[in-house]
């Protein structure tokens, strides 16, 4: 009891950092991991001494603004999708499912879908493998300059897609681009048109995305790896497991949730890619032959170039459905793997 009064007295003196330090001497922002489960139980019911009614007051400002500027527009766009909505006209014509069926027979929608998945594939899968590889280098306690490496890997993530797309557009130039130049030095046929050809343009865009997110995801995997209890490795060491076996049978299974998380976030992000192709092409059509038009770019083109709002809203709903289906598949696969592991 004496301890608690001391603490709250200190809190009153507005020295909460000291109070906190007494509990966690090293780093206040990182509580010890072992205590996590205890704490979770404690917070499950909230703080009993605090009047729960205040909860509504505290979440109200967020919810009011979130409903008006976040959720209401989403719901209203479902409404719009059933109309032939002309932003300039006064009366909107009810269209039923026409917008949806029109999308399904629109060749450009399918091109955009193909491009989106192609770019998603080239940007997600290699990136994940590289991120896990980088994380396993970074986690080694013997690594010198750990903070430096972690920090430098995050640099790409802070910069704007626009600025970087301008640079990459130039690096991937057909005639004077550094990428083709480097390929020539390596003895490869290097007159690849990274912008006009469909597949190379997907690779170029995927490179931009990978460049931007690789370090970020490596840090996510690193954090997850550091949270793996070390006794697992100790006992594996005792059993004489090789480093590769430890990676395969301890690290990878323990990263399951993180892999799902990164995959889902990467997929949601991947289905929304538009800034890179927009900047690379300079307009919303996604290249001269729509070779890198993506779903979201297609949506924006219909909405703000062609002024077909109902049609664009229908595209948005298709994107959402695709996102939800893929997320569900991801969850299902991970759960399947998880239960298989438990049955072993």
């Amino acid at each position: 009891m004496a301890g608690t009064t001391e603490r709250s007295a200190a809190a009153k003196k507005r020295k909460p950092t000291n109070v906190f330090k007494s509990a966690h001497p090293n780093k206040p922002e990182r509580p010890k991991r072992g205590k996590k489960s205890e704490k979770r139980l404690a917070t499950e019911n909230g703080i009993k001494a605090l009047n729960p009614k205040w909860g509504y007051t505290f979440v109200a400002p967020f919810f009011v603004m979130f409903l008006i500027f976040g959720l209401a527009p989403v719901i209203f766009s479902i409404w719009i999708a059933f109309y032939n909505w002309d932003p300039l006209g006064d009366e909107q014509e009810f269209y039923g499912f026409t917008n949806f069926t029109d999308v399904l027979v629109d060749e450009n929608f399918w091109i955009a879908l193909r491009n989106t998945f192609s770019i998603w594939f080239f940007s997600t899968i290699p990136q994940m493998i590289m991120a896990i590889g980088l994380a396993s280098i970074l986690r080694n306690p013997r690594l010198k300059g750990a903070t430096f490496w972690r920090t430098i890997l995050l640099v790409p993530n802070i910069t704007s897609v626009l600025a970087i797309a301008i640079v990459f557009g130039q690096l991937f130039g057909r005639d004077f681009g550094l990428v083709n130049l480097a390929l020539t030095y390596l003895g490869m046929p290097a007159h690849i048109d990274w912008i006009a050809e469909p597949l190379p343009s997907h690779v170029a865009i995927a490179t931009m995305i990978t460049w931007r997110w690789l370090g970020y995801n490596a840090l996510i995997f690193l954090a997850a790896m550091l949270a793996i209890p070390s006794y697992l490795y100790e006992s594996a060491d005792l059993d004489g497991a090789s480093k590769w076996q430890q990676f395969r049978y301890i690290t990878l299974p323990q990263l399951k949730n993180t892999i799902t998380f990164v995959l889902i976030v990467g997929t949601i992000g991947g289905l929304q890619v538009f800034a890179e192709p927009l900047t690379l092409g300079g307009n919303m059509s996604g290249g001269d032959s729509r070779q890198f038009s993506t779903l979201t770019l297609f949506l924006y083109e219909q909405a703000f170039v062609n002024n077909r709002w109902g049609y664009a809203a229908a595209i948005g709903i298709f994107i959402t459905v695709i996102v939800l289906i893929i997320s569900a598949i991801n969850f299902a696969i991970t759960r399947q793997i998880a239960s298989e592991d438990n049955n072993k």
Binding site: T4, G46, F58, L71, L162, I166, G215, A275
Partner: protein
């Protein structure tokens, strides 16, 4: 230690292999690729168009950097205003996000009100929705409110995000000990005082990281400002950079000079806060 009779009780750290040179080479390579595009911006902007169109382009910084950067301000006389606008919007949005997210996150983490679990799941669920889904109605709303072509159109819709609340809830759940709040409450502190005097100071670090990410998002946002702004005096920095591109001939030096101006402040900022961002990213990671 040697006298402990049962050796297997002794906790051994896992034996880590020595770092192989290959690991350092890999890291150096990735690090080099991470910063090279920034260096390339400077090379192009400082050498001009002729230099980089040669058979073997130079990899050295040329003498014309300030000339080209000056040209950016000539090509778009409101470029400086655009940078200022972005700082203005970004600061307000960052502060608002930290405040609203931490207040709501505190309630979600520590206050046992009815419907809390449902609301948390609801917030998480909305994070799955692609953000462009609501862009047309939001555009109509902003137009209806008369905010077109004002910075208000950028500020108000960005004041709160589901992600911010979710993140702050995680942070407060993990970093604010319950005993502290219980004790303060027993001593008669009200909920508001507890938030302001105990919770807020404890989560300042993470709040700062959230604020930084919000600021970066505003600084780098491109499409929304492009849609709602059309007066060059109101532009944000990305729109101003994009404006340089619209010319008929591609002026690489000018474009990359603009990109450099839009990026350099972030890199300077990163020098000071990079480590905080790293720990922020890692704290927010899903573990296990």
């Amino acid at each position: 230690m040697d006298q402990v009779p049962v050796t297997f009780q002794k906790r051994k750290k896992p034996r880590w292999q020595k770092m192989s040179p290959l690991s350092y080479i890999t890291l150096t390579l990735v690090g080099f690729i991470s910063v090279f595009p920034f260096y390339w911006m400077v090379i192009v902007a400082s050498n001009g168009n002729e230099e980089i169109s040669k058979e073997t382009p130079t990899l050295l910084i040329g003498p014309r950097l300030f000339e080209v950067l000056g040209n950016v301000f000539v090509a778009n006389e409101f470029f400086g205003a655009a940078m200022w606008n972005t700082v203005f919007v970004g600061t307000i949005v960052a502060a608002a996000q930290v405040f609203f997210s931490s207040v709501a996150g505190f309630a979600f983490a520590k206050l046992n009100f009815k419907g809390r679990k449902f609301l948390v799941l609801f917030v998480i669920g909305t994070m799955m929705l692609p953000s462009q889904l609501g862009i047309i109605p939001l555009y109509m709303l902003v137009a209806g409110l008369g905010w077109m072509n004002t910075l208000t159109a950028l500020i108000v819709p960005a004041l709160v995000t589901a992600f911010g609340v979710f993140w702050m809830r995680q942070v407060i759940d993990a970093q604010v000990p319950n005993e502290l709040l219980e004790a303060a409450s027993i001593d008669g502190a009200g909920v508001f005082r507890i938030y302001w005097q105990i919770v807020f100071p404890l989560i300042l670090q993470s709040g700062f990281v959230l604020g930084l990410f919000s600021f970066l998002a505003v600084w780098n946002d491109f499409l929304w400002p492009l849609l709602v702004l059309n007066d060059p005096q109101q532009f944000t920095v990305q729109v101003a950079v994009n404006q340089l591109q619209s010319a008929y001939t591609i002026d690489y030096a000018l474009n990359l000079g603009g990109a450099f101006l839009a990026t350099a402040p972030l890199l300077v900022l990163f020098l000071f806060v990079g480590r905080k961002l790293v720990s922020g990213v890692m704290d927010g990671a899903v573990k296990g």
